[in-house]
């Protein structure tokens, strides 16, 4: 009688396959990790940029917006908003929220100081320089 494909063999394929592909993934991640600082100009992560990022995170901006396509799809992309709108528009826009236009999506009022707005814009500017393999397709995000 031929021995059939046993559960033990199936288990070995599962374990072997998992280890095999995890090893590949780790190797690729090491390479990716080395490349990311070049692709996103990590050397330009100034104190202002870091603080701007902290403001974006601690106010849950991606609860409505996307950053490089990740987040919620309720409000425009932020990864390239600097290119699309420029610094002055962004600051002004945040200051006048909410618009209160009936039916239109509302953005809460965030009580940012001028210094905080500058940091925020510094972060958005940094975001706009990341090499994202040419995404988004155009400035509209």
């Amino acid at each position: 009688m031929q021995q059939v494909f046993t559960k033990a063999m199936a288990r070995n394929i599962f374990l072997g396959g998992a280890v095999f592909f995890l090893a590949i993934y780790v190797a690729l991640s090491v390479d990716t990790w080395r490349q990311i600082p070049v692709r996103d100009h990590a050397s330009e992560l100034s104190a202002a940029v870091r603080h701007g990022k902290y403001l974006v995170d601690s106010n849950n901006c991606i609860g409505c917006h996307t950053v490089n396509g990740e987040g919620a799809y309720y409000a425009p992309e932020l990864g390239n908003v600097y290119t699309r709108r420029g610094p002055d528009f962004i600051k002004q826009w945040i200051k006048i929220q909410p618009t209160g236009v009936p039916g239109r999506r509302q953005m809460p009022h965030f009580d940012f100081s001028d210094a905080e707005l500058n940091d925020l814009v510094a972060y958005l500017q940094w975001l706009s320089h990341i090499d994202t393999n040419h995404w988004p397709p155009n400035a509209e995000g």
Binding site: F5, I13, D31
Partner: protein, 189 residues
């Protein structure tokens, strides 16, 4: 071995599912390679010129020979010649290490030439295809070693040799993929 067994696929059906899945992945990779090549012919020709066909050919011969050894091992165990089966498996293992040695030498040369995954599309394909295949060889050798050890310990008999057949099927797949890879990446320009 009984006549009706001979007609069925050797090894077990489930291992063939995995071999099929593996071939599917490699098949998609090859298709994508061919697609990318047709879009960037000059770049690929230039990249392929950097490869040493002699090393690729040597490795092809090494793997084909080791496949032969595995086939002899399977045949031996069907005749209940346990020691012969074990020796053929060892021979296949030895040839596998030779492949690994040559390929490592080639990878070292590539690294010296400044190749990496992000330099250009050809190098990305060349390195991931051969790297992915290389890991399959290493995995196949681990399987062959385990099966050889069990063979010498008397773990297989003519009527109970799924392990040898399964390892053999896997090794033949690794060999087959290399032959296609060799032709596609090294030879066709």
């Amino acid at each position: 071995m009984r006549a009706q067994d001979r007609e069925a696929l050797p090894g077990d059906l489930a291992i063939w599912i995995f071999i099929f899945a593996e071939l599917l992945v490699f098949g998609i990779l090859f298709a994508v390679y061919a697609f990318a090549r047709s879009a960037h012919v000059a770049l690929f020709n230039q990249g392929q010129a950097l490869l040493d066909r002699r090393l690729g050919l040597a490795n092809t011969l090494v793997l084909i020979t080791s496949s032969y050894a595995v086939a002899r091992a399977t045949e031996a165990i069907h005749r209940d010649r346990v020691q012969a089966c074990g020796r053929w498996l060892l021979a296949a293992l030895l040839l596998g290490s030779l492949f690994v040695g040559i390929k490592c030498h080639e990878f070292a040369r590539d690294a010296q030439a400044g190749m990496n995954l992000s330099h250009d599309l050809f190098q990305m394909f060349y390195l991931s295809l051969t790297g992915f295949h290389f890991l399959h060889v290493v995995m196949g050798m681990a399987i062959l070693a385990a099966v050889a050890a069990k063979t010498f310990a008397g773990g297989y008999r003519a009527h109970d040799c799924t392990g040898v057949e399964t390892a053999g099927a896997w090794w033949h797949m690794v060999d087959l993929v290399w032959i296609i890879l060799f032709i596609l990446v090294y030879v066709l320009r």
